[in-house]
């Protein structure tokens, strides 16, 4: 529901991720964060206003 709503607001669904990691899954946590970081880097900064006025 959130990704559908964010899409209406112009936010790509790749900028949001839902995952479950337990406290004992340290390596898995690290790899998910690294993946997400790379994904966001490829998407580039989120410019909400892009030079529009009064945004």
């Amino acid at each position: 529901m959130l990704t559908k709503m964010l899409a209406q607001l112009g936010i790509e669904e790749e900028r949001v991720r839902l995952d479950w990691v337990s406290a004992s899954e340290g390596e898995r946590f690290a790899s998910i964060v690294n993946e997400m970081t790379e994904q966001i880097r490829e998407l580039g900064p989120f410019n909400r206003n892009n030079g529009g006025d009064h945004g």
Partner: protein, 320 residues
């Protein structure tokens, strides 16, 4: 006691808030007894130059309705702020952006093109668009600049009080008038409504918040005694401030959030996403997918009156 000086103005507005003030009917005479209205375009013939000529802080209370989406609306908001001791954001548009804030799903260019060129009833073969400056034979004409983004009043000037509602219901307006007359206003920054959600005010029977299907309001015949959300109809009650008397609920229509977020909630839409997700009973991916399909317009429903006031404020702007 000297009469209070009262000013009212409308920015990107429909006039409903001004009519709501008139809807106090004979009590308008009580208002006239305690205040001199020095500016009110719907009812009185004062001009902008009258306001410009006033000393600063001459107006005691200014009830400003309508959202801000043009250079003229912003400059009048700033003018009235300078001339007024107290600014009140009156109505959902001034408080949260209101219905005009739905334009934040689009840009100025989108709106102008649709309104003046694309719309089927237009007769505009030369595709003429309004310009900020236009030369005519006799001289030059000026129009204000339309902004891409609709803003709330507080996003443009300091605001002391917020009176929500589309329009604010008459009992609430009378409460505000009473507070002004007896000099009994709450501390600045207050929203003059309830501090609880609409659910608290709503008389319907609430049993168990568990739904497995979401219906559009016309798809079922809802039981008038039971909570609408429990029957699967999206009702913004849990994410909306109370104080309206549950007017819409009492005519079997689900709340659409015109009183804005409840106290302590920063983003009304996010709150509603959270509320719906927490009551939905899904057995697997397909149930979830069906729920998402059944919520046909999440952003437009959960931010119906509050897009300007939301954390994101607008859809990501893509300039053409």
């Amino acid at each position: 006691m000297a009469k209070l000086k009262l000013g009212l103005y409308w920015a990107a507005s429909c006039g409903g808030c001004d009519v709501a003030v008139l809807d106090v009917n004979e009590k308008i005479l009580d208002v006239a007894e305690m205040a001199d209205i020095v500016f009110w375009p719907i009812a009185l013939d004062f001009k902008y130059h009258h306001v410009e000529a006033m000393p600063d802080k001459d107006i005691d209370i200014c009830l400003f309705n309508g959202a801000v989406r043009s250079s003229e609306q912003e400059s009048i908001a700033k003018l009235l702020r300078a001339k007024s001791k107290t600014m009140v954001a009156f109505g959902s548009c001034a408080c949260f952006g209101g219905i005009p804030a739905l334009a934040n799903f689009a840009t100025r260019a989108d709106i102008m093109e649709r309104a003046y060129i694309e719309a089927p009833s237009n007769d505009n073969p030369d595709k003429v668009l309004p310009q900020i400056k236009t030369q005519v034979a006799e001289g030059e004409l000026e129009l204000p600049e339309l902004y891409d983004t609709v803003l709330t009043l507080a996003q443009v000037v300091d605001v002391e009080y917020f009176v929500p509602g589309c329009p604010p219901p008459v009992p609430l307006i009378l409460k505000v008038v009473e507070a002004i007359a007896t000099n009994n206003l709450p501390p600045p920054g207050a929203v003059i409504a309830s501090d609880k959600t609409l659910c608290d005010e709503c008389d319907r029977k609430k049993e168990e918040k568990k739904i497995s299907k979401i219906y559009r309001p016309h798809e079922i015949d809802p039981d008038p005694e039971r909570c609408l959300l429990e029957q699967g109809i999206l009702c913004m009650g849990p994410a909306t401030r109370g104080g309206c008397g549950a007017l819409c609920i009492n005519v079997n229509m689900p709340c659409r959030g015109c009183f804005g977020p409840p106290a302590g909630v920063i983003d009304q839409g996010a709150k509603m996403v959270s509320a719906v997700a927490s009551i939905y009973q899904a057995n697997g991916e397909e149930d979830i997918a069906q729920m998402v399909r059944d919520i046909v317009d999440p952003a437009g429903t959960f931010y119906r009156f509050g897009l300007s006031d939301s954390m994101l404020k607008r859809k990501r702007l893509q300039r053409r």
